[in-house]
């Protein structure tokens, strides 16, 4: 049933300082909203538990892209379309390009934000596996100050985050890969657009003298949170491209994941497909 409008209030602070003051004065009362591509779906169905919304969409402090030779920093309000318009995202972070293109379709990409994709905390979100593969860090801000946290430890459990009720995600920072890199992103959904992932796997490997010297795998839809495949990563670091332990890696990744049965796929399907996508990735890595 449609939501009753009079049950809801929304306000739009003019500055980040004002927004943080509101969150600090009434922690947990105000729910931030930006592109609305997740919250408005719940709202329209009459299933949005939050009644007081804080519109962040006009806060210029949370916008913009900053770049130096070592890093790229994206404001939390960066939309998928804005990501796709950034030259440095294409040159340094191709998995992020693929993940933005895999999210919804154009109308969603024009509204949805990177910060929203993170704090909505869906295990099936499309950009988190790419962010995990690139070793992203998040800047969290509140009236108490700012802190940087590794994205890999941000998601604690299903929809539970290392984010206090008075904090906002302000920026996402990515270290630029150096040297020879291998990038892989594959989302398995019902169709290419407008689908929610059944399995998503993003990987980044650094290769030196045909040896994997750095390796990160981000997974979506196969655990309660977007998760790294630590066992698989440990197994593959130090391996020669010509002698990648495919069978052992397929086994290791089964221990990295904890998929469930739901309306989109069975746990069994997710296990098999995760192994298959991992193998596809390793076959491409062998040829890198």
């Amino acid at each position: 049933m449609r939501a009753n409008l009079t049950d809801y209030t929304i306000q739009a602070p003019a500055t980040l300082a004002e927004a943080l003051a509101i969150l600090a004065a009434e922690p947990g009362v105000w729910t931030p909203i930006a592109g609305g591509t997740d919250l408005m779906v719940l709202f329209n169905a009459g299933r949005l538990p939050a009644r007081r919304l804080l519109d962040l969409s006009r806060l210029s402090e949370l916008r913009g892209v900053e770049e130096d030779p070592a890093r790229l920093s994206l404001g939390a309000l960066t939309t998928y379309t804005e990501l796709l318009e950034q030259r440095s995202v294409h040159t340094c972070f191709p998995n992020l390009v693929k993940s933005a293109r895999a999210t919804g379709a154009k109308a969603i990409q024009n509204r949805g934000t990177l910060g929203g994709n993170i704090v909505n905390a869906s295990p099936a979100a499309d950009t988190p596996p790419a962010l995990l593969a690139y070793g992203a860090e998040l800047e969290l801000v509140s009236v108490r100050g700012a802190r940087w946290v590794p994205y890999a430890s941000f998601h604690r459990d299903y929809k539970k985050m290392d984010l206090a009720p008075d904090e906002l995600v302000a920026r996402v920072r990515l270290p630029k890969p150096r040297g020879t890199g291998f990038h892989f992103y594959r989302k398995v959904g019902t169709r290419q657009a407008q689908a929610i992932a059944k399995v998503c796997l993003a990987a980044y490997a650094r290769i030196e003298d045909r040896v994997v010297t750095e390796f990160r795998v981000g997974l979506g839809s196969v655990a309660p949170v977007p998760a790294r495949a630590h066992r698989t990563e440990t197994l593959l670091v130090g391996c020669r491209l010509g002698a990648l332990p495919v069978a052992a890696a397929r086994q290791a990744i089964q221990e990295d994941i904890a998929p469930i049965d739901d309306i989109r796929a069975s746990a069994h399907f997710r296990r098999v497909v995760t192994g298959n996508v991992l193998e596809q990735m390793l076959m491409e890595l062998a040829k890198a």
Partner: protein
């Protein structure tokens, strides 16, 4: 900042400045259809899946069912009613007519708006770009071929004329 029951929402719709008193959480879709009387924009799924409610918001296609009125304050909106020049159909609308690209017609306003958005940023789209540009718009009659053909005829000289 005080939280009021209704806000004075001022926006430019199809080139005309409009001001309406609405709840700040009213959906842009409902603001367009009800107080503004622009019923060309349709509600399909109400969850951003089908694209029937597509409009251009500050020049970019959005699902108007997912936009709270407050976020449209001061915006420039184009709906399907804004595509024609007076009584003259836009080239895209004329192509839809020529190619019988509407069956029941319910998805057509959203298809036209999404296709207009595509042609605005990519005047000569390839067939793949047309498919990607319309990927967020569902046609329950499954009349996709004629829709894609109609858009392809607009795709500029030397491109995918079928």
């Amino acid at each position: 900042m005080p939280v009021s029951e209704t806000i004075e929402l001022s926006l430019q719709v199809n080139g005309v400045a409009r001001t309406v008193a609405v709840h700040p959480m009213a959906r842009l879709l409902d603001v367009l259809r009800e107080p503004l009387g622009l019923t060309g924009t349709k509600e399909g799924c109400g969850e951003g899946e089908c694209g029937a409610c597509s409009v251009l918001l500050d020049g970019r296609v959005v699902n108007s069912c997912l936009v709270p009125a407050l976020q449209a304050q001061g915006a420039v909106v184009v709906t399907v009613e804004g595509l024609a020049q007076g009584q003259e159909l836009s080239p895209l609308q004329a192509a839809f007519l020529t190619h019988n690209a509407a069956q029941c017609g319910f998805c057509t306003p959203g298809m036209l708006v999404a296709a207009q958005d595509l042609l605005g940023r990519c005047p000569a789209p390839s067939p793949d770009q047309v498919r990607t540009g319309l990927a967020g718009n569902l046609c329950r009659c499954t009349g996709y071929s004629k829709i894609l053909e109609a858009v392809a005829t607009l795709s500029g000289p030397g491109e995918a004329k079928r």
